[in-house]
Symmetry: C2
Subunit: 352 residues, 2 copies
């Protein structure tokens, strides 16, 4: 079976033949973060478990490989699998090791929403790795969460990039989510949502349904268009979410420049994002009955990056903290793939 697979995939694992069987003395963990635009795999040593020990900060990364989209909903199952297998092989090859050194694999990929998705991917991982390798399959929010908590699955993670989603996890294994349903179903705090509202405001100002706004000249300039009329053709030509979400910095600049319409759009987005965190925290009781129990809030994604005067992430924290003063904001220092590997490390540690 394994031989057949190796054959079918054009020698993905052939590099192992050049590595002496006993050379890879070090036990390894693979951590994968598969988003809609790219897939990252990192290779990490299984550093020792001391009593109550935390992982080293920063955690050592032996090798890193990057590939394209591995969301099976976007590219289909065959392509997704091939991408994941390739990126794992590349990371192992770069670290000079073979699959026989791997102790655990933690794969966090967007598009994994049901136990059936998990089971399918687990079965396929078991075809690739020896039987004693521990395999974990989650969606990509788990990797983002773990990247902020150094591998602990407890608290809330707010992701706001092109799309937005909030996940929450309790220490006893319950979880909840809010938003993440895509633009048709109203993810208005996302980068796409913010930019679509800005484009809408330009059209409204143009045809007399809304106030004038600096967004008009700024967006037209950014897109090299000469009239708001042309925005219709621009969106029809390619309405991919990421292309539209790329306008968020223009909206932030206009708001920083005092434009009321742009400011209103960002305030609405803050409200949306805060609602989605509060809904998850309430449902799981993450901050206890009085809202004061400490709970991490991991914040990731371009919309929440703290590099602007108008800081969307900070405003979200302010709103959430009013109701849940126990929420403790974290902007992760490591990437999600490292979070995924740390999660596997914590599992191994608990088992040992």
């Amino acid at each position: 079976m394994k031989a057949m697979k190796r054959e079918r995939n054009g020698g993905i694992w052939d590099f192992e033949l050049g590595i002496a069987p006993a050379s890879g003395g070090e036990d390894l963990i693979l951590g994968l973060d598969g988003g809609t635009t790219s897939t990252v795999c990192i290779c990490m040593p299984v550093f020792p478990f001391n009593d109550g020990s935390l992982p080293p900060d920063p955690p050592p990364v032996l090798a890193r490989a990057i590939a394209g989209c591995s969301n099976h909903n976007s590219v289909g199952e065959t392509a997704a699998r091939e991408t994941l297998e390739h990126v794992m092989a590349e990371a192992l090859s770069k670290s000079g090791s073979t699959r026989s050194s791997v102790r655990a694999v933690c794969l966090a990929v967007s598009g994994v929403n049901h136990p059936t998705d998990q089971e399918r991917i687990l079965n396929w991982l078991r075809e690739i790795f020896p039987n004693d390798v521990r395999c974990f399959v989650h969606n990509d929010a788990v990797a983002a969460m773990a990247s902020g908590t150094m591998g602990k699955l407890h608290g809330c993670v707010l992701i706001a990039g092109t799309g937005t989603i909030t996940y929450g996890y309790t220490e006893d294994g319950r979880e909840a989510r809010a938003a993440g349903a895509g633009p048709v179903l109203g993810d208005w705090g996302s980068g796409y949502g913010i930019a679509a509202m800005a484009l809408t405001s330009v059209i409204r100002a143009y045809d007399g349904r809304g106030p004038q706004t600096k967004l008009t000249s700024s967006i037209l300039q950014e897109l090299k268009l000469s009239s708001p009329d042309e925005l219709i053709g621009w969106t029809y030509a390619d309405s991919s979410w990421a292309r539209i979400a790329a306008l968020v910095p223009v909206v932030v600049s206009c708001a920083e420049g005092g434009d009321e319409v742009a400011n209103g759009i960002l305030l609405d987005a803050v409200q949306e994002l805060a609602e989605s965190v509060k809904a998850v925290v309430s449902r799981l009781g993450l901050c206890g009955e009085d809202g004061k129990d400490t709970c991490p809030l991991v914040m990731v994604g371009g919309v929440l990056e703290a590099n602007r005067k108008w800081d969307i992430g900070k405003e979200v924290i302010n709103r959430v903290s009013k109701e849940f003063p126990g929420m403790h904001p974290i902007r992760p220092k490591v990437e999600p793939a490292v979070g995924a590997a740390l999660l596997a490390w914590n599992f191994l540690k608990e088992e040992s």
Copy 2:
């Protein structure tokens, strides 16, 4: 040239060979309405022009033919042209006439937004018809307008089906539009907009961001789904606007049943549609300075049909009338293709 064209299109006009040259004594007008889902062509006699005469009510229709989409943005130019030529040939053939009887053609097709679109289609019509045939090319809103005013291009037309757009025309030939920019650019009063808001409300109620609503059980039942979770897969599977807009009757039923969330969505849609009419009326000064000058407001499309207790169209009229009491609502009694033909009749009458 014409012979070549006839050849290329597989004998579209061959039926003319079986009609005696002198048999078609009656002068004819062809009126076409080309939307995104279908194209209708009607064939109408050039009834006599009496001084100040109005067209007969109802206008006599000699033949009617129907075909698929003729929007060049959707199906490409070649397919759009072929559809239009076929549907005209079929209408003429059904009326037992040839192109030599045609006095005028008025073609109103969605997707005609620029003078260049008009010019391209006009050139091509001139290849098909004898030189003395008068040809008019407009977008489909013009046909809708004329269907309410029996061929006069003056006033305002609000179209709200899957999408929404408002057009206005002054008697001296100026025009303006509002909305019609598609869902990304915020056409929230459209059928798509109403249904997307309803789906969003279901997701919000489910993940704790919004109030509970009867929309949840009604929409799940309509779509034969068992959980709001499954709505995400449902929208990703096929997010065509018409498929989503088909949920409007469910929203109306819930509002009629007293559901506050559904009621709020319809009130928001009414507000959006009224704003778009008011913007056009203001810009063109259609109701004069005091808003009391009489001006037709033609209302078409599934969202505005007066067949429910919760009557969206009536509510829009109420809002618009507060500011512009001169607006005179009209629900057309003839179809848009007849409106297009009447428009051509009015041109011929003015020329005569």
